[in-house]
Amino acid sequence: MIINSALSSTDGCSYGIPTTGLLHSEHSSADRTTVFVVGEYFASASQPTAKSNIDYLQSPIQQIQSLLNEWLASFGSQTRLQCEDSALVVAPASKICPEFFEGYEPFFKTIFLYQAALGAPEIEDSTPPSEAQMNAAFLGLANLMAAFVPAPAPMLLEDGTIGGYWRRGRCYASIDFEVDGEHTWVETDGEEFKSGTWKLPGQQIPLPLIQQLLTLAS
């Protein structure tokens, strides 16, 4: 899986996003105006449709999933024809596979269980995660998903800090989601250790960390 890569003439838009659709490398960039002609439909701005625009049960992961899929679809929506009262939209059919997002669900559930367990009155000397600590973790997880790396395992620290780790054999990486947004990370291949911080929002995921995570996922 390659992230942050420039699109080569043969890459099209297949750059490692775990898609389920048709965005694959058989199309060349020279064909880009037609690459995404995989579905056409008329959408009139003035005609209301019997379609709901709200889901009372939408989880944070579903919200992130929708935004990332919309981001992916926006590439295709740049190719459109405007008519008098409607738009012919040429949109890609690809979506990021749902299993990728489902991999993150246990992490979110663990945070809620952790908060519920430590918040119970009979538990003494424990520090449940604060609102700021939970917010830091949620934003960190959202940006890990946006970097298309697999879900970490949850790592819950005594002071309420929420972190995550990945391990395979001698390879290991971890990250602590800090309330100031300076998320501390460490990674090793079993021989060499690297560490640093990932500032969110603002910075792309650090290169050594993403390289190690992709190695762990491969």
Binding site: A6, S8, C13, I54, L57, Q63, Q78, N135, A146
Partner: protein, 270 residues
């Protein structure tokens, strides 16, 4: 089952703070929903894009970076978690809506009473703080585990073959199928009512499920959308009964007698 109250305009910070105060000062709600979690709304920032612009020059390959999420506070969730680790009730206070979701549904009469006892103090506080209701909705998710997998026989056992809610050919399909439909109907006082029903037979983690998702929403407008019909707190009970009847009509019309019995629903009953 979830009940939702939607607002004409997203609640501002002061209105959300008023709803937080309701939670802080209402011991019955705090005891029933002891877990308070902040909610953030995510947006994508500075997403690099590529591709041709309309009428623009020949497109050039550009670097595509993964998007970045930023977030901002967007209300809070209140949960009741069971010792088994499952969440039985969630109330969501969001700028766009207020909802109460129950995953331990037994009878409409019991669950709707409980949900309304939770929602009503928040609704009253929001209305007092200047909010206006744009819609009231009811959302259901029913799931049946299909031990014998998917087949035309299973579809015919679970659903009424002659029902108006499913196309006839799905009963002959040998594998998974999906049906999504939406239509407007008339609600109380001639209000506009949107119904969406999704019926799906699919495989989830190697288990075959039949799922029916129903959402019914009444808007603060006349059926032809030309006139605003304000929704007041006193209208909520009557509107919810109507939404429940809409859902009951679909479920009773779609599921076979055996399936209705399996979910404790007598034909024509609640």
């Amino acid at each position: 089952m979830a009940i939702g109250i939607e607002w004409v305009s997203p609640l501002d910070e002061a209105q959300l703070a008023a709803l937080q105060k309701v939670y802080d000062e209402t011991s019955q709600i705090k005891e029933f929903l002891p877990q308070h979690s902040p909610v953030q709304v995510f947006t994508i920032q500075h997403a690099a894009q590529f591709g041709p612009s309309v009428g623009g020059p020949q497109p050039q390959p550009q670097v595509v970076l993964p998007p970045q999420f930023v977030s901002q506070a967007a209300g809070f969730d209140l949960r009741r978690m069971e010792p088994s680790g499952t969440t039985s009730w969630v109330t969501s206070i969001r700028p766009e809506f207020l909802s109460c979701n129950c995953s331990v549904y037994d009878r409409w009469k019991n669950v709707s009473l409980k949900a309304l006892s939770i929602l009503r103090p928040f609704v009253n506080a929001a209305l007092s703080a200047g909010a206006q209701i744009s819609a009231i909705g009811l959302q259901y998710q029913d799931a049946f585990r299909l031990l014998d997998g998917v087949s035309p026989e299973v579809s015919k056992e679970l659903f009424r073959q002659d029902c108006a809610w499913l196309p006839g050919h799905v009963f002959d399909e040998p594998s998974f199928w999906h049906c999504h439909q939406g239509w407007f109907s008339k609600g109380p006082d001639g209000r506009r009512l949107l119904n969406n029903v999704t019926t799906d037979i699919s495989n989830i983690n190697d288990i075959c499920f039949a799922r029916i998702g129903g959402q019914h929403r009444i808007f603060s407008t006349s059926f032809d959308t030309t006139t605003t019909l304000k929704i007041n707190a006193s209208d909520i009970d009557r509107i919810l009964e109507c939404l429940h009847d809409e859902n009951k009509k679909v479920i009773n019309g779609m599921l076979s007698d055996g399936a209705l019995e399996a979910i404790g629903c007598s034909v024509g009953g609640a």
